[in-house]
């Protein structure tokens, strides 16, 4: 998993509440056997004027020019600024997969749906819940070329006029993100213990270590 330490990036404003996982990645894409490659279909029904299908080549599709992510000034944004209850709906891990694959690294909103929030951390995405007034103020001051710096280490967001906004994140999750450790990476830090366990178990139950 990609580590998250310090990020300075353009911010894309998605001014909608209750954005559900079906909007983030519509259900026809769940038939896919992949975890990568969902980026082109992120917010498919909002981004395009035609209906998306799995494995479709999106380069020639009809873009909805009014949708925020299609506007040239937000191209390359790695921070998504949005409204409350982001990521509600189903538990599909495809939603954070699509956001990350598209290029987002952090999402700022007043609140997130529970399962989605958890799933983000498993996929290198930092969800940042901030008070509604603070989110309002960011929406208000956002103009063309607006960037934010997110410092996970100090748990601060720095605005272009040097305002510092603190945010909360669970210690355990912070540690994993800072070090780019997914659960697998973390467990693999205990490789010696796993090998030790196997050696000891092989004495008690040798048949588990023989391939018949």
């Amino acid at each position: 998993m990609q580590a998250f330490t310090l990020l300075t990036s353009l911010v894309a404003p998605l001014d909608r509440a209750n954005v559900d996982t079906d909007a983030i990645i519509p259900k026809q894409f769940l038939k896919s056997i992949k975890r990568a490659g969902f980026g082109p279909y992120l917010f498919d029904e909002w981004r395009y004027l035609d209906r998306g299908e799995p494995d479709m080549d999106c380069t020639h599709r009809l873009l909805n020019k009014d949708f925020v992510l299609n506007k040239p000034q937000y191209k390359g944004s790695e921070i998504l600024l949005t409204r409350e209850n982001f990521g509600c709906g189903s538990s599909r891990e495809h939603a954070p997969w699509a956001l990350a694959d598209f290029g987002f690294r952090a999402i700022i909103a007043p609140s997130f749906a529970d399962i989605f929030y958890n799933n983000c951390f498993k996929n290198g995405l930092l969800p940042i819940p901030l008070a509604t007034e603070v989110v309002d103020s960011l929406f208000n001051e956002l103009t063309e070329g607006y960037t934010l710096t997110v410092d996970l280490n100090t748990q601060k967001i720095i605005t272009p006029n040097n305002r510092e906004i603190s945010f909360d994140v669970d210690e355990n999750r912070k540690y994993r993100l800072l070090n780019g450790l997914d659960d697998i990476g973390l467990s693999l830090q205990h490789t010696d213990k796993i090998r030790g366990y196997e050696a000891e178990r092989a004495k008690r139950a040798p048949w588990l270590f023989v391939d018949y």
Binding site: R35, H190, W207
Partner: protein, 470 residues
């Protein structure tokens, strides 16, 4: 000092280390893999440049999507075909043994595991499938996991878990003749509810459990998940040990004797303390039929459909009303008055040789009723199919008007072509009667194999224990 439960013993045997917050890294002895929940996990490995920790501890099979007819023609549905092809490719790339569609050993993942001796007493067994609880019948700690965890097991041979609580379900007395494992577990779920086992590992004990074959024990543990528990357990005894003797993946030579000795201790200590104990009178259990859209909505075949008005809990009452509406049934209707359109004998709950024998015994020399549009028998594996054919069971079924199919999940979840049409009613030996489970708008009644066969012959539900089978 109080003794240990079987679950305590299995847990302690597999802890690699425990964190301060109580979560543990536990070692996984056997990982079963199927086509639906594994592709993203393999993709994740590939993206991270990781390899499976111990490829030989994984065993893969395609079961959910495979057709049950015309296997030689391949899979018609392109989405299903891609998932199965992807599993084949991933297994080759990562060096994992797979029983492919052409292999006689192919079948439902939870049938082939024990059949091959790939899931053994004392093991931890996981699979990206909730019915992994089935394997607990052999005194193994077995439970279902999600796609991220599938990847975690592939990469580390371990999982991060918190220990569950201990629930003991004690079946008092012996069941009456003709009452099967399926009836026992449905009666348990009817009593404790689908959330009754939440947060627990259930151990099933008592005379009625000891009297079950391994196949029957698997049926009981299979549905532990339907009672809300991720894992169900049955202690090892002679039945268990006899079952595993000489299976292809069972321990050989001196290992076998060592294993046998170790497995003998796989039971709860006499003075073990459980967080909760529930007693069930086994002598009172009759053949069960579900009438709603949750396995807990179940009654005995000689009963009538309960009246929601008599239910004091508002949420439950509303659930019953909704279920009756979906099922097209009315309170007070006798179960034996319910006519069925289709019959499905199969699934990881009831597709083993003993299940097919029980159904064949009922069907022998009879014909399915005129109102039955389709009666399917889908063996759990290629080997079950071979065994059944060597006993002539396929002929019995065919002569009675049943279709005899290739192994797979089939109409248990209708991911392949076998399904219910809207409004059709099915007597099914599977484990879930959820809305739309067997096809959009389909109505499922869960029963035992003998009860399903009897419903096929009569055209409606009948008490199979009241029929003279000789």
């Amino acid at each position: 000092m109080s003794g240990k439960t079987l679950y305590d013993k299995l847990w302690e045997d597999h802890v690699v280390y425990t964190e301060d917050d109580g979560s543990s890294l536990i070692y996984i002895d056997r990982h079963l893999v199927h086509e639906v929940t594994s592709p993203q996990a393999f993709e994740g490995l590939r993206l991270a440049g990781r390899k499976p920790w111990r490829p030989s501890r994984n065993l893969a099979v395609a079961d959910h999507n495979v057709p049950t007819t015309d296997r030689d023609k391949g899979i018609a549905d392109p989405v299903a075909r891609l998932q199965v092809d992807t599993l084949d490719k991933n297994c080759i790339e990562f060096g994992i043994t797979e029983f492919t569609m052409a292999d006689a050993r192919q079948g439902i993942v939870h049938v082939i595991g024990p059949e091959q001796g790939a899931t053994l007493p004392g093991m931890t067994v996981v699979c990206g499938d909730s019915h992994t609880s089935t394997h607990g019948a052999s005194g193994a700690l077995a439970f279902g996991i999600g796609t991220s965890e599938v990847e975690h097991v592939l990469a580390t041979q371990c999982l991060i878990q918190k220990k569950a609580k201990n629930l003991l379900i004690h079946l008092n007395g012996q069941t009456r003749s003709g009452v099967t494992a399926k009836d026992i577990v449905l009666a348990i779920i009817g009593k404790i509810g689908t959330a009754g086992g939440n947060g627990y590992t259930i151990e099933f004990v008592g005379e009625a459990i000891r009297a079950l074959s391994m196949e029957g024990r698997m049926t009981v543990c299979n549905m532990a998940i339907e009672a809300g528990a991720r894992a169900g357990l049955i202690a090892v005894d002679e039945v268990t040990i006899d079952y595993y003797r000489n299976r292809p993946y069972s321990p050989k030579g001196s290992d076998w004797f060592m294993a046998e000795r170790l497995w003998q201790r796989l039971h709860s200590d006499d003075n073990a303390v459980f967080d909760k104990v529930i007693g069930i009178d086994a002598t009172a259990i009759k053949p069960q039929v579900t009438w709603g859209t949750s396995p807990e909505l179940v009654v005995a075949v000689d009963e009538t459909i309960p009246d929601p008005e008599a239910e004091s809990d508002l949420t439950k009452r509303q659930g019953m009303v909704r279920a009756l509406e979906y099922m097209g049934l009315k309170a007070g209707q006798a179960i034996t008055d319910i006519a069925v359109d289709k019959v499905f004998i199969g699934s990881c709950t009831n597709s083993r040789i003993e299940d097919l024998r029980a159904a064949a015994q009922v069907a022998k020399g009879k014909k399915i009723a005129g109102n039955i549009k389709l009666a399917l028998v889908v063996p759990g594996s290629g080997l079950v199919k071979e065994q059944a054919e060597s006993e002539g069971l396929d002929k019995v079924f065919r002569e009675a008007g049943f279709e005899w199919r290739e192994p797979g999940c089939s109409m248990c979840l209708a991911m392949n072509a076998d399904r219910l049409e809207e409004g059709e009613r099915c007597a099914s030996t599977s484990n879930r009667n959820f809305e739309g489970r067997q096809g959009y708008g389909g109505r499922t009644h869960l029963v035992s194999p003998a009860m399903a066969a009897a419903a096929a012959i009569a055209g409606h539900f009948v008490d199979v224990t009241a029929i003279n089978l000789t």
